[in-house]
Subunit: 198 residues, 2 copies
Amino acid sequence: MRIAVLTFEGFNELDSFIASAMLNRVKQPALKALIVCPTAQVASMNGVVVHTQAPLAFAREADAVIVGSGVKTREIVRDAALMGELRLDPKRQIIGAQCSGALVLAKLGLLAGVPACTDMTTKPWVQEAGIEVLNQPFVAHGNVATAGGCLGSHYLAAWTIARLAGWRAAEAVVHYVAPVGQKDEYVERARTALAPYL
Amino acid sequence: MRIAVLTFEGFNELDSFIASAMLNRVKQPALKALIVCPTAQVASMNGVVVHTQAPLAFAREADAVIVGSGVKTREIVRDAALMGELRLDPKRQIIGAQCSGALVLAKLGLLAGVPACTDMTTKPWVQEAGIEVLNQPFVAHGNVATAGGCLGSHYLAAWTIARLAGWRAAEAVVHYVAPVGQKDEYVERARTALAPYL
């Protein structure tokens, strides 16, 4: 199964890479997460240049889409051409957004009538879009999830893995990436955060 | 102050980017972390191509150096030319290694006589180098630290920030990047992990 991790100019490295690195740990069934940018390469909020691994249109074919975060998301959602390319479909795709990625899902109408999670900086803009923001790291409604706080992206990744490959696969990846000596604690915390949404 | 985040071919995205993104959050005093590769660009273990932000020699001038991890570290430490470029100096530099980065510090003689932290996969190779491996996420001796488990890199980043800019700055960054609703808990856990080494 293939996952698009949408990564825009000015992206936050934590949000795109925690998700993609965790998703790519799943080998059975094989998940393949690709960094997907609107252009051949983009620079992060800290000037790190990365190459796209697939064209933007891949987001429509992927089994799951994670919308990363960054410092330019408010400009991105005003880019009609770019947003027009993102015809995501929650009926056949698992869709998640990290931090300011919630603004993209809001613009696409995917958060209509449901509360969302986002980071503290983005919160007023998500509220401005008429969406209630929760004081928790993760929430999902059906196939659409949002997460808030950079390191909260490990919950979003774990939920995506659980939905695509089952909880045992998600648990194994959380265990693998967790700090040494704190692995059971991390798995337990992820289980608690995600259990209502699995 | 400037920090080199050493990032080699086959690198683990979590290890280089959790560290660099957290370090770049510190504005007072300004920390600037750069992704530093031995070549103009490298590909991650999942095929993500990134551009170096400074030449390898920058690692010798930087105030701090974080050695990232990856799937080719055992080959890298056998590359005499590359290792010869890394004349790190713990007398004037803060030095940390994440997961298999410990093999680089071991090769440079920076872990002589002290136990280290690393991930479960790298553990036997670090032990083979005659170094005791601890079942905990983080340890430091003077200016040299090691961390184990991908997400343990947030402890390594916090310690580096604390050493360069003080604990209050480190605490503020951990609070910022922590999942929403779990920020105090994350700060407290980081404090507990790092207190013996500050």
